[in-house]
Symmetry: C2
Subunit: 321 residues, 2 copies
Amino acid sequence: MSDIRILHETDLRARIALDTGAIDVVERAFARLAEGGVEMPPVMSMHMPDVNGEVDVKTAYVPGLPGFAVKISPGFFDNPAKGLPSTSGLMVVLSTETGRVRAVLLDNGYLTDVRTAAAGGVAARHLARGDAARAAIFGAGLQARMQLRALCLVRPIAEAVIWARDPAKSGRLAAELSGNDLAVRATADPAEAAGFADVIVTTTPATEPILMADWLRPGQHVTAMGSDQAGKGELDPACLARADLYVADRLAQTRKMGELRAALAAGTIADDGSLPELGEVITGRRPGRTAPEQITIADLTGTGVQDTAIATRALAAFDQE
Amino acid sequence: MSDIRILHETDLRARIALDTGAIDVVERAFARLAEGGVEMPPVMSMHMPDVNGEVDVKTAYVPGLPGFAVKISPGFFDNPAKGLPSTSGLMVVLSTETGRVRAVLLDNGYLTDVRTAAAGGVAARHLARGDAARAAIFGAGLQARMQLRALCLVRPIAEAVIWARDPAKSGRLAAELSGNDLAVRATADPAEAAGFADVIVTTTPATEPILMADWLRPGQHVTAMGSDQAGKGELDPACLARADLYVADRLAQTRKMGELRAALAAGTIADDGSLPELGEVITGRRPGRTAPEQITIADLTGTGVQDTAIATRALAAFDQE
């Protein structure tokens, strides 16, 4: 029994950060997904309406890695009233040689936060203009701050604007994030925020569009990462028609629970086999941004291969001890 | 972090046994499934052909219980050559109030063994004749011995016969299990084993039928519990036509990976909405055995609700300390 590592949130926070290394391993995971051989079953989802809770389970097997993660992500939406975060959970890492449990990462969702933000960094690295210096973040939660940090790791972001439904929150976050090399302000006008930015990241659990197609302008990149359920969606479906390029983290998921779902329902985009996935852009199998004036959209729903990637990185950090 | 219980296999083996209490909680879980309110998503399954491995994830939410289990069950079929069992895994128990992790049960599949055998006990309790005294067990593995033990807990079993493909194994198992109140012998003739018994339990990973319809006689009950994948099956499809009553643990599963799958394909049974589930028989919503001369079949594929039931029992045993 002693060969199973049990790692707690504090241990993991001390070793694993949202840094270029995290972005690199998530980028490589998406590339592997495009290269083939990866197994990634559909997300297992269970809703518990009478306790206002849900749990998602994700996994992915990447040949060649020593382990694969099975991640259990609960969301219990009455928790904030009890003084607890809505989300928590853990990752179990199993050996790809024997299936035996190698580690239990009791991260309360921290590694998910990191790998989710890292995917935003990957998307911006491959789709945003190289000179993108202005960011707009929609939302003022944890991912708002982490997605902005990820952008700063891959692009020369100098200014950022934050819009959130609650102006008190966006104001506080802007004050907190503004620093030496980065000027951050809040705005009450989402159209102004959108128009200002070279890169827009939407990070909300919105169920109605918060970013309108009319607000977009040539040269922008948009990453929508808030939607991970069939009932959510942040982008006006016309955004996908307006964009020159739409890229999914995983089409099988974005069709069901990403921005693609509402756009397909609205008929603003055709799912004719031409839509690329992020890994295909990373590996050069499919083109990414091909001109500075293009508008690009990345639709991120969160994939098991990111979990296996970040869990592998976490375990490697401890194994090196 | 200290409020998460980490329990190891040795701890769990010391507290949780295949006993009447385990059969009772699994019976109650099936009843809850019939009563409604239970959430049980389809099994998540991932195959890793290049390492000859697979992993299944099961879960179920039962309103009123303090927690729900998410079970991760790997099967790595090259393990025996490495001196390791093929199956292992763990259960994670999450709070139904907050979704927070309450416990990690590092049982290496032990609790699955118990809840699987307990379901066999539940099936026999509700479908075998009350005077059933003779058992036939097909297979000589761990479930062969555990299913026989479960039968002895619910019926006055005095004699048992074991048939297995490998006669050396069935001989050894018969010698091991034969004791004071139970006479156990091995046989090389599966038809003889079947004809001898009041209750037959098939416990093998067979992919071709091992129990023929011609061998059945009035008054018998058959529990088939070996099939848990679409490629497996132990019963001649004609058995289901021969039987007076077919009962599934969960029709949504037995249609895909139980004995029902092959019978539907062979057209020996109609899936016309009349097939009952075990929980419906337990709660009296649907009839079970209604006459001593009937032939009954229970098709057990293993359900998440059993996992939540046994994990809840395990945690309660430790919480009482």
